[in-house]
């Protein structure tokens, strides 16, 4: 049987490509804001409960229970804030980009329901600065929602008030970290903050704050409409429901695919994305964005299950899957990731600020035929100061997860191609030494 998507969050935007982002189409053809109407008649605590029942886990990367996160807000402390994380920057992730451009009303509805559930009267959507069209459509959608009484004061006569602000970032990966985002939203450098206190206790302006991802927000209206139990009925184990996976790299049909969790990597990569381009053999794939440790073709029959991924010492992270064929040099990929993390390290914690630059430098020479025989061991040796133990789930000596991410691909090199790389470094070193003798 052909592999198929299970479209819930992406159903509407796929069926009405030409106008799915407009208020009129969303209202007329997708019952937009009907879940908000239903939610406003519910007890806020019941909404939190319903989302807990659904088993929905955050779609940004960490995979923390959404309802559980909401339930951590301390009682009776107000004001509270909702910050929606639309600063999609994890390399090879492009699902939120699509949701923002093509179904902004679903996001606004989810955010409004969430704000009501946690009793926040101010919500912010922090959108990545580079999303020009996305910001334009989202802003228009917010204005339409205000004009039609779905945002603002006394929404639909419920007595609930909500101000929703679209806030544009300005080019910064670490603003996608939940506390980095809050720093940025406060007008600071987007430097992550030490936890605890967690944002639920002291977040934006030191007030209780929930930070949720765009895909998470987009899922909420469906859970309210059809119930937590319905959502929990999909998926596998503790990974319930569907997820959008961004498949890219060397595949026939790169793109976003929404599938029920529990599908195998093989069905997703080969069945939906058409397999490796040109029918070539796969060398390796990255299962959850640049920060996730790599997997090999032998793992293709593993299920898309967040906890199973942890057992395999990696993660489904942001749902970005990058596929590489046999022609790709893993050292080159690793170096490019190192360069990325060195560029995006905010500079707050010493191990990451210094370490990310050194990893970049050493990997550069390794990938460009100038490596020394013990370079991989050198990387693992000083990398141990960023990620003590060098084993996922990563321990870290830094405030945020960017630290361990700088070493994730190095650990993968050792795990997947250690012998191959050591042999190559030794060979290249011997060749250079021979050349030096000749030229001397």
């Amino acid at each position: 049987m052909a592999v198929e998507e299970t479209r819930i969050v992406t159903k509407f935007l796929r069926t009405r490509e030409k106008d799915s982002w407009t208020f009129e189409a969303a209202r007329k053809h997708n019952k937009a804001y009907s879940a908000l109407e239903k939610a406003l008649k519910m007890d806020p605590a019941k909404i939190v409960e319903e989302v807990q029942t659904s088993g929905l886990r955050g779609r940004g990367g960490a995979g923390f229970g959404t309802g559980q996160k909401w339930s951590f807000l301390p009682k009776d402390i107000f004001p509270r804030y909702l910050a929606v994380n639309a600063d999609e920057g994890e390399p090879s992730t492009f699902k939120d980009h699509m949701l923002i451009e093509r179904d902004p009303h679903q996001i606004i509805e989810g955010a409004a329901i969430t704000a009501f559930a946690i009793q926040a009267h101010h919500a912010f959507i922090y959108i990545r600065g580079e999303f020009g069209l996305g910001a334009e459509r989202l802003q228009q959608a917010v204005e339409d929602a205000y004009a039609n009484g779905f945002l603002g004061t006394n929404i639909l006569g419920s007595g609930f008030d909500l101000e929703l602000i679209v806030h544009r970032g300005a080019g910064c990966y670490i603003a996608g970290d939940e506390t980095g985002l809050l720093s940025s939203l406060e007008g600071e450098r987007a430097m992550p903050r030490i936890k605890p206190p967690f944002p639920a206790v002291q977040g934006l302006y030191a007030a209780p704050t929930v930070v949720n991802n765009i895909e998470t927000m987009s899922t909420i209206p469906h859970i309210i409409r059809r119930g937590g139990k319905w959502y929990a009925g999909m998926g596998v184990n503790k990974s319930t429901g569907t997820r959008i996976f961004s498949v890219s790299g060397m595949v026939e049909r790169p793109g976003n695919y929404e599938v029920e969790l529990g599908m195998t990597f093989r069905d997703l990569i080969e069945g939906l994305a058409g397999g490796v381009r040109g029918g070539k053999a796969m060398k390796f794939f990255i299962p959850g964005g640049a920060s996730a440790p790599w997997l090999l073709p032998e793992h293709l029959d593993e299920p898309l299950d967040m906890d199973r991924a942890s057992e395999l010492r990696t993660m489904l992270g942001s749902g970005a899957i990058m596929v590489f064929d046999q022609s790709v040099d893993p050292l080159l990929v690793s170096w490019r990731l190192a360069k990325f993390f060195a560029h995006e390290s905010c500079g707050k914690c010493t191990p990451c600020r210094e370490g990310s630059g050194w990893i970049d430098k050493v990997l550069y020479r390794m990938a460009h035929g100038l490596g020394r025989p013990d370079d991989l061991d050198l990387l693992l040796d000083f990398g141990n100061n960023i990620v003590p133990g060098l084993n996922a789930p990563f321990a870290q000596t830094t405030i945020c997860a960017l630290g361990p991410s700088t070493m994730s691909h190095v650990v993968s090199l050792e795990r997947c191609f250690g012998a191959e790389i050591r042999a190559r470094l030794a060979r290249e070193h011997a060749q250079r030494a021979a050349l030096e003798v000749v030229s001397a």
Binding site: E5, G132, G169, Y205, S248, N256, E344, C346
Partner: protein, 169 residues
Amino acid sequence: VGFTDADRRRAKELIARYPHGRSALLPLLHLAQDRDGWVTPEAMEEIAGLLDMTPALVLGTCSFYTMLKREPVGKLIVSVCTNVSCLVNGGPSLFEGLRARYAEDDDVFVEEVECLAACDLAPVMQVNYEYHGPLTTETAVDVIEQYQRGELVARTVSGTTVGAKGGST
């Protein structure tokens, strides 16, 4: 030139949207950049005055973000991704090709950027933050020339184009 009265009115509207004014710093820096093409030192002083901050604090935030330019960059900002999905699809040669082509052109600013979240379009570039891909150096130059001639260039919507055929129906 400094902020006009209209700029100041717009700035005050932005500040009023937030529970704490300082949150308006990035929107104000965007406002300044949209106006002048880059964030001038005068604009930073103006913003500092509006938010009751020192200009050094404004610079501190401004200099952290790659989209905020602190020197003139020309009319077209061409951002080419070379991160991994673009790396294995020709991103680096696209970047090098465009950089060489426009090295002497003050109006076209070619920069290498990190993942633009459009890997289904790899190799991808943005021109003034509008997406284009997948590209070769030749087709990219073609697109840039359309902008230079002031033609209306079709906007790319995420997941709907030829390169991004995956999943779309």
